[in-house]
């Protein structure tokens, strides 16, 4: 595991890699809803103006335009804030999901985005999108994972939603990492205790395990980059023999990662596991710096560690 690389924001990685992909694949086009610079598609617009479409502040139309482009063999990427674009649920449901059209939706600004506050923060996007037939739903945590997921969706021929957060993060993989949808990865192995998360919060969880180690509590970390498909057997194998599992998600638990973990346990014979969930149920985010928001909601490494040893009564 590499964790010492220079920190980068995943949306920047997305923007840079999109230009690279655009050079290789002339079918890729981009639809923007007046958020080119925030969602980092400006580079693509500059490099490939003829394959770039600015629809203005009109996400519903943008989704439809992308659908038409995809039906004619193009590979359209439409990017906006996750909260905004998944808000056009009926348009995604009918034009894209029901018609099974390979439109690639990139939802940025998930979780604790910072000072812009609740209306701009995607905290229900993953469960909305996971409910839709035909859709793949992914969330990368690191630069390499972002690149591998983008490579995958361009070729998948399926409608996809990718939640890309704006946090600056390090790396947990090397460049040989192979992305297989639905297969989960135990980044830090541990016998009995583990923390499961998705996206950049993984790094807070990794830090939390370091704090726990100082308290002589060994805990591992499992990264989920694919919420749909979700391989329950893969998760079952990782959770075998585990006693205490904390799920950490900057999202509502219903239909999100916590639901999937509870479902894994219900579907398997892993009935001796204690599961706790740290999530954003019944609340919206608010204004503040991302780190203040994480602290206030218990998502910073210290709080995650504390929740772990308190909830599972491991404090000595």
């Amino acid at each position: 595991m590499i964790t010492n690389l220079k920190k980068k924001a995943l949306r920047n990685i997305f923007g840079e890699h999109l230009v690279y992909l655009g050079k290789k694949n002339k079918k890729i086009c981009v639809v923007s809803c007046d958020l080119k610079s925030a969602t980092k598609t400006s580079g693509f617009f500059k490099a490939f103006p003829k394959r770039s479409f600015e629809v203005g502040i009109a996400e519903a139309n943008g989704l439809g335009v992308a659908t038409g482009l995809a039906l004619k063999g193009f590979v359209p990427i439409i990017s906006s804030f996750g909260a905004f674009i998944t808000g056009k649920f009926l348009e995604i449901r009918t034009s894209i999901s029901y018609n099974n059209v390979p439109v690639k939706i990139i939802g940025t600004h998930g979780g604790f985005i910072g000072k812009d506050g609740a209306t701009q923060s995607g905290t229900q996007d993953l469960s909305l999108m996971s409910s839709l037939p035909n859709f793949d739903v992914f969330q990368p945590c690191s630069p390499i994972e972002t690149i591998k997921i983008l490579n995958y969706i361009i070729k998948s021929g399926k409608p996809s939603y990718v939640r890309i957060c704006r946090n600056e993060v390090g790396e947990v993989y090397n460049k040989n990492f192979k992305f297989i949808p639905g297969i989960h990865k135990e980044l830090i192995k541990s016998k009995f205790n583990t923390i499961i998360s998705s996206g950049p919060l993984i790094f807070n969880c990794i830090e939390a395990t370091k704090i726990l180690r100082k308290k002589k509590i060994q805990a591992g970390v499992i990264n989920v980059n694919s919420l749909k498909p979700f391989n329950f057997k893969s998760m079952e194998r990782l959770l075998k023999n585990k006693k205490n599992v904390l799920v950490v998600e900057d999202h509502v638990s219903h239909g999100g990662l916590s639901s999937l973990i509870y479902e894994t346990i219900a579907k398997s014979k892993l009935n001796k596991i204690n599961v706790k969930s740290l999530n954003l149920d019944e609340k919206f985010s608010e204004s503040g710096t991302p780190s203040d928001l994480e602290k206030a909601n218990g998502f910073d490494p210290k709080s995650i560690a504390k929740i772990f040893y308190e909830k599972f009564k491991l404090a000595k």
Binding site: R51, A60, K72, P76, L90, E91, R93, S95
Partner: protein, 270 residues
């Protein structure tokens, strides 16, 4: 063929399509009769004169955005021998290719599954943009309803197509003046149609949507238009062709009983 014969054939064909619609709806004991009957001449023209699907792999694109009127489209396809009698008779039955609302995953001639109103025009814009990028001299047609334009997405799309002067896009607005419950003007008035679309920078044509000559001349004008998207406001009669269904909101989706069916058939075959 002489002009008179051509006209005769067009109207005979329209009548045949109407008979198929009535047959389908009676058999299924459900479906939308009024909004299907109002678009018969337009579809008849597009599919028989313009031969949209003559070469399926190099076709013009057509989206029926008012998806509930799909019996009219199925009847046109049946008349073209593109769907079998068995499929035709299975409309709205479980496992059928002919779903209550169009489904592209089940029937290849459906280019877009629709049913939640207001979405087809945006997709037709995508088709038009793709046709331009592919340098294909292919047109993108979209049929929308007058009630449907109450949906906000229609105006997002109208604004985009007008601003970008998408000239290979043609919308036909089935102005039958009614919607699900009652008259459009009593629900949410959509008038003045012409001024609205002109303000969005569209070329606006207004025609009798049941007249071959007017439909023909409108599409000719669209083919010659180089600067703007075209909208043909087709003034139509909901339930056209069957006296007791004409201009009746009741017949938006009323079930045909045997008596009505026989009466309707008699009117269409006299």
């Amino acid at each position: 063929m002489s002009k008179k014969n051509k006209l005769n054939q067009f109207y005979l064909n329209s009548n045949k399509i109407r008979l198929y619609i009535i047959e389908m709806l009676f058999r299924a004991q459900s479906g939308h009769s009024g909004p299907s009957l109002s678009i018969v001449e337009i579809l008849n023209y597009l599919f028989f004169q313009k031969k949209i699907y003559k070469n399926f792999n190099n076709r013009h694109n057509f989206v029926l955005s008012k998806g509930h009127a799909v019996p009219a489209l199925y009847s046109v396809l049946f008349n073209l021998n593109l769907i079998s009698k068995k499929s035709f008779e299975s409309y709205r039955e479980i496992g059928s290719k002919l779903q209550g609302h169009p489904d592209r995953t089940k029937l290849k001639y459906i280019e877009l599954g629709t049913g939640a109103l207001g979405q087809g025009l945006s997709v037709s814009i995508g088709f038009a943009l793709a046709n331009s990028m592919l340098k294909k001299n292919r047109k993108s047609f979209c049929l929308i309803g007058d009630g449907e334009i109450q949906e906000g997405q229609i105006w997002e799309a109208a604004m985009y197509a007008g601003a970008h002067r998408i000239n290979n896009l043609c919308v036909i607005l089935d102005n039958n003046k009614m919607q699900n419950e009652t008259y459009t003007k009593n629900t949410l008035d959509v008038m003045p149609l012409k001024k609205k679309w002109e303000a969005f920078n569209w070329k606006v044509l207004e025609i009798d949507g049941h007249s071959y000559l007017e439909i023909h001349s409108a599409f000719k004008k669209f083919y010659n238009e180089k600067k703007r998207p075209t909208i043909i406001i087709a003034n139509t009669v909901k339930g056209k062709g069957i006296s007791f269904m004409e201009n009746s909101a009741l017949w938006h989706s009323k079930v045909l009983n045997k008596k009505d069916y026989i009466k309707a058939k008699k009117e269409l075959t006299k």
